[in-house]
Symmetry: C2
Subunit: 483 residues, 2 copies
């Protein structure tokens, strides 16, 4: 085939006889000195250095052993928990060994929510049928059920319209069961998540508005399995705070099948969770001071907190160790950055974003300039590239600048897009710098996200190390060429 646009243009040129164009082109060509035409790849030195970054990361990378230490040393680490405190101490201690110019803790007051004793969610039995236990996790931030079970008839809801049309009459006194699955046709699974997670976030209050007594949510995962996925909810204080839990996708399928077979299916829910007063925690920060522009910061980060199940390996232990390794790798390779390179391990992304908000507020106060911030918070899978975000006034300019790097990054399998960046760095958006997110392959992420399955062994060492190297490569390019 011919390229349609080109061939149309060519025929147009022929038809109109625009020989002037070609004469102009010829003149330009003739004025280019021969040595320029034969010039070497202007990116050769950069490609060679980035090759070193990847070599080192794949052969002697620290992300994977560090992740093992974090996952087995601190375990899961919800804000305010003992695990989170261990993680802060561990991260500071490791950064202290990385030969950085300074490492410090930034105090952050964080919410403290506790799951308490394991939740019990079951379909109550009938004379014809035994009770059926549903694998469940209370949603983060949910109120408990006050030491006793909440029992109610279940009503299944697959759209907001369906909820609204049922109204108070259909919902009062009942347990609303949100069962709209993630859309499997999205290639990027984060889009599927984005299209379904409103059920978990705002579902409890939208059900409470119509008098529901509790909420069950189908887990945010594409696989059919037995892992419930927790995650945060957001109560609207205009309505009653009702308890809410996620059940596994298999359990959601079973419950839905039962609702098709029987009337008046009842569920009993006992949640032992509670919210305690805020406590002091920390962002962990390390930096290499810039040699030319120390007042301009290039930030790389992830979040140190996790949900209170599994080990938070993909979410976001991976992003933390990768961010630490960016500074470690560049230091080990003897790179002397022009800008200040700063690694920030944020606290409390999962249920409050207090770390990101505190960091951005402090930066504002200290008048620190963040030229660029890169977050890794999409799992430790093979990197596919980076997505870039900025103030609408600036994004065209920035994206043009970084697009030139694609030639250098593409041999490492990396593409560049416009898109989101990361939750923790989003409060820096007001500084009008460039924000970016590492974009690993997303197919398996929601098999682990916010579940007991998100453990160290779920992270492939090479995939993790490739992510760290990719991040270091981008930071290197932006440091060297600016924006």
């Amino acid at each position: 085939m011919k390229n349609k646009t080109t061939s149309y243009l060519a025929s147009l040129l022929r038809a109109k006889g625009i020989w002037r164009f070609w004469i102009g082109f010829l003149i330009v060509s003739l004025t280019l000195p021969a040595e320029l035409l034969a010039q070497k790849d202007p990116w050769a030195a950069d490609k060679a250095f980035i090759r070193k970054i990847f070599d080192r990361s794949l052969s002697d990378g620290q992300s994977h052993p560090w992740l093992r230490d974090l996952c087995y040393g601190a375990g899961h680490r919800l804000s305010g928990s003992a695990g989170a405190e261990k993680a802060v101490r561990w991260a500071k201690a490791v950064l202290d060994t990385c030969g950085l110019d300074s490492v410090w803790l930034q105090p952050v007051m964080v919410p403290r929510w506790e799951r308490g004793a394991p939740e019990v969610v079951e379909v109550t039995g009938t004379p014809k049928r035994k009770a059926m236990r549903l694998p469940a996790l209370a949603l983060g931030g949910s109120v408990g059920t006050g030491g006793k079970a909440v029992v109610g008839e279940v009503v299944e809801i697959c759209s907001w319209e369906a909820l609204d049309s049922l109204g108070r009459q259909g919902v009062t006194g009942k347990i609303v069961f949100y069962n709209r699955p993630m859309e499997c046709r999205h290639i990027n699974t984060f889009e599927a998540y984005g299209g379904a997670v409103d059920q978990r976030v705002s579902g409890p209050s939208r059900a409470a508005k119509y008098g529901a007594v509790a909420v069950l949510v189908r887990s945010m995962g594409l696989a059919l399995d037995d892992y419930p996925h927790t995650g945060t909810l957001r109560y609207d204080s205009a309505y009653a705070l009702i308890p809410a839990a996620a059940i596994s996708t298999n359990a959601a399928e079973r419950l839905s099948a039962l609702l098709r077979e029987e009337k008046n299916v009842r569920v009993s829910m006992t949640l032992n969770c509670r919210t305690l007063p805020d406590v002091l925690s920390y962002n962990v920060i390390g930096e290499i001071r810039g040699s030319l522009m120390p007042d301009k910061v290039l930030l790389v980060g992830g979040h140190l907190d996790s949900w209170d199940v599994g080990q938070g390996a993909h979410d976001d232990g991976a992003g933390c160790v990768q961010s630490m390794e960016v500074l470690y790798l560049l230091r080990k390779l003897g790179y002397r950055p022009r800008h200040t390179l700063r690694c920030v391990l944020f606290m409390n992304e999962e249920n409050g974003l207090r770390g990101g908000l505190t960091y951005a507020a402090a930066a504002e106060e200290k008048e620190e300039i963040h030229l660029f911030a890169l977050e890794s918070d999409a799992g430790g899978f093979t990197p596919r590239g980076f997505s870039f975000d900025a103030d609408p006034e600036m994004i065209d300019y920035y994206f043009d600048q970084v697009s030139q790097f694609e030639e250098v990054l593409r041999p490492f399998g990396l593409m560049l897009w416009r898109g989101g960046s990361g939750a923790d760095i989003s409060p820096l958006r007001g500084q009008k710098g460039l924000l970016a997110g590492l974009r690993p392959d997303s197919q398996r992420y929601f098999d682990f996200h916010h579940t007991a399955a998100d453990v160290f062994e779920a992270v492939h060492p090479r995939e993790l190390q490739l992510g760290a190297a990719s991040m270091a490569a981008l930071i290197y390019l932006i440091d060297k060429y600016g924006l």
Copy 2:
């Protein structure tokens, strides 16, 4: 930063004042009708159709259920085995239900090698130390040890130079242990495999040349684990045929450590494998006849045989079901191909390539024109793109043609490269058509390749289905636009 070439060009233009160029450019711009400048994306219809292919594959794809049937119904399926025969019958039966224009079996005489009773490889004990069993698999095609153990002192070899310098004196009567690991710094793990597999393929005869009695090879994998990886060897008939087995990477590390500690480490090997006379088997073929150019074939395929461990899920059950699904998807979506689309499930890729050779010879005889052939034989992982190969005279032309598709394929995460295609389709190279290989993410492939771990559960349903959709998209584009 500025793009260096562009800014150099710009300064040159300024310096020389080549306003003629800009006038030429202006004239061209003015002669372009406004509606052309505002014209719609010429690929819009293609993008929409390919979107349908992906939608269907992700929501209602057959590759994953078919792979379950193949893995659990036929199991592993080395050429000439009962499993291979079951797989042939199963594949034909499934293709018969796909609404194709014809489905047939192409007879192929295949080699028959049998492992026999499980091999026993162990480091013999000493008064100070117990015997140590090493997880091992005889290499495909190896001779057995004649019903008794071969015992010999082990000599570790990490380069061909080291082997040659030891020579007959250092090797005669010994067991040569090849322990050069795959190079972890390659990003594409197939390059790491390519750089180490000579030990497995030619190592036995190169050791026999110097009088070795048997060979052990470190498994071809990047992970340290307990799975031995089998695979074919190639005897040089100039030397004695000596038995050869792969040991797991962990076992290789342990054996190497022992060799550093002790002198005269001896290994005992009992292999019960043997080669039997060739037997009749089949390539399984199905096609949709082209509406405009039925004599020109676009082929898509994988290989139906596997090694005799695990279930051959990634290698190459995945490629088979994906190839079947390409025709199934296009048929289900009502696409009427211009060229003949043919799915070929080749027999005997692993230890003879007889299916590929037989197919190409028959095509030659029937004067069939293969304009394009695409193989999937690199695992059922997330597709990263395609690599293209052809006769050196033709590859520039072909690659220019398909490069135009990158705009359409890139939103689906696919890139296009020059590179290899697939073993089974390589005998078609003489036809001077275009050959291609699906290139899935390679990081995890050699964790499973030729091992007992290559089972159905190791294949992620979405990753597999994305590969099938990607292949269908490329076949669609080449069918529609030709080459």
